[in-house]
Symmetry: C2
Subunit: 334 residues, 2 copies
């Protein structure tokens, strides 16, 4: 039998009582998500999916990366630029130019001379944080409808209450914000200044130079290591990879400064980047996420914090927000 | 100019005042570590380094991974087994068999039939946690000598004090323990049950089946994604990769369940694993770490929590313990 770190198979015999009816095995977080009713899954609009096709690998296998763009009110200035760049087919023929271990894979125009489409916005640093007005978020304990608040001011109040909770609950506080949780399918953080999206594994952000340059959106990266949360509120997060991140995370690391490829031949060619709605219907990827407002998500998040499935001996009693990834899966063919 | 996420070059012109003498640019955490005096660096004994040579890559480049084994009192039962396995050259001809994205790369005997050397210990789950007696650790704010405590009981007391600190300091608390910090070069967590090493990026642990099997040490893995801290106290951490992790983290992901390679041809051959002292002197790697008890480390940890170097606009005001990696570097040739 293979030695496993973590078995997806519940070893029911280990947790049966000596007498009586068989109890249900305790499900893992993944099993909880998989068992969620169809009504708990939310379809992602194809207009919010960015499809990046890399050149096939050395064996001729296709390499497709699918990115979900963030919803309003977050990062919309950059996302507007990204939609224009995709519509102009601007990334076709560009490349992945930087892969830094335990940090990011970054792509764009390696020459830095390719003219940008007209009409791109120059976005203010203030947009790293949204006022959050009209948006809603959930308390540190990732709870349900009844815990929702609707303004940044409410969020801050709730954060202050969370901070004075006893330690047994305080484990769900965040090292990088007064307040963190998942809402509308996204992980967010907040304090009295507002609400912002965070740099978890797979987050997609906008490369930039020194402030006040915030980047156009033409130079993008994704996180391929431990969440570099210190980048929150310093770089724009515009989406997350929902499929194919292994095509970026398993690329050879660049040996130049910051993980840039030193030899142009090492760069990985980008065949095309399109918003999914521009692809033929049969080629459009379809994904759905587990509603962060559902009971299923609440149980999933609780199980991520307190692993009781058979492999585990000592549940952690907590988790950091990047260790409670929102489940996303392909929509099954009908 | 390249769009960067994070520049290692201080752009002094951006932070100069209009008049007066030039202040020193504000250094990045890496610059603080690099500027630390030689006396703040601690040599790692070659007897604590495990050298894993993989078969050369497709271009014939060597692939060496160097692992530092944990010091006492942690995980010594498994580490004793690992030393015996290395001395028996047991891993020679085995392979990397599993690479799961954002999780682990795992190696050992794919056949699971290779006889183990005689005399390996069967280690108790209790050893996932050390009583910590005789060991010392630092408070959540990663401070200095004066903050040291010397028993698990003291650590728990200190944890309770930390938990009742106001939120401005409470950011340094841990989502997975009452208490976390860095000591003697290692990141540790603690509560009233004791002290344990943690699963940060690059941590090396012991694969196992269902409890009460704790694994022999023959099947090892390293973390290649966001820190899976829920594994703490459930699997033994025995060391960390100090060099060459890119040879594991950039491997193709396995397409089987849990990231196992489905085709034996996908496995990556291990040429040899040796404790460094068994290698010819000229071939022994030499590394040193920044003393976690030094002023340099305290300033480095503070800078990781509050980035003030020129790229940053909004310092986070905190960090999780896995985002304050202990700096390790090769010892420069003399």
């Amino acid at each position: 039998m293979k030695h496993l770190l973590l078995s997806a198979v519940a070893a029911a015999s280990l947790i049966l009582p000596a007498y009586g009816a068989e109890p249900a095995p305790i499900p893992s977080p993944g099993e909880i998500a998989a068992a969620a009713p169809a009504s708990d899954w939310v379809a992602i609009a194809p207009s919010d999916l960015l499809v990046m096709d890399l050149a096939p690998d050395a064996k001729g296998n296709p390499r497709r990366v699918v990115i979900q763009l963030m919803p309003a009110p977050f990062s919309q200035g950059w996302i507007g630029n990204i939609r224009k760049l995709a519509a102009a087919h601007w990334w076709d023929g560009t490349s992945v130019n930087r892969v830094q271990d335990n940090y990011v894979a970054q792509w764009g125009d390696a020459t830095e001379k390719k003219a940008l489409p007209k009409g791109l916005a120059v976005v203010s640093e203030r947009q790293y944080v949204s006022s959050g007005r009209g948006y809603s978020y959930i308390s540190g304990r990732l709870a349900k409808e009844s815990d929702k608040v609707t303004t940044a001011e409410d969020a801050a109040e709730q954060a202050i209450r969370a901070a004075s909770m006893p330690k047994s609950d305080g484990k769900f506080t965040d090292n990088y914000a007064q307040f963190a949780g998942a809402v509308n399918g996204w992980v967010l953080a907040a304090d009295t200044t507002g609400v912002w999206p965070v740099h978890c594994y797979g987050a997609v952000g906008v490369g930039r130079n020194m402030s006040p340059d915030t980047g156009s959106g033409a130079e993008l990266y994704t996180v391929i290591g431990h969440a570099p949360r210190h980048l929150d509120r310093n770089i724009a997060v515009v989406g997350r990879v929902v499929s194919g991140i292994e095509h970026l995370s398993s690329l050879p690391r660049g040996t130049g400064a910051l993980g840039f490829y030193e030899d142009a031949a090492e760069r990985v060619a980008i065949t095309s980047i399109r918003v999914a709605t521009e692809l033929p219907a049969a080629d459009q990827p379809r994904f759905e996420y587990l509603s962060t407002e559902s009971d299923s998500f609440a149980r999933y998040a609780d199980a991520r914090q307190n692993r009781r499935d058979p492999f585990f001996i000592t549940p952690a009693g907590g988790a950091d927000i990047c260790n409670i990834p929102v489940p996303v899966r392909p929509v099954a063919a009908k």
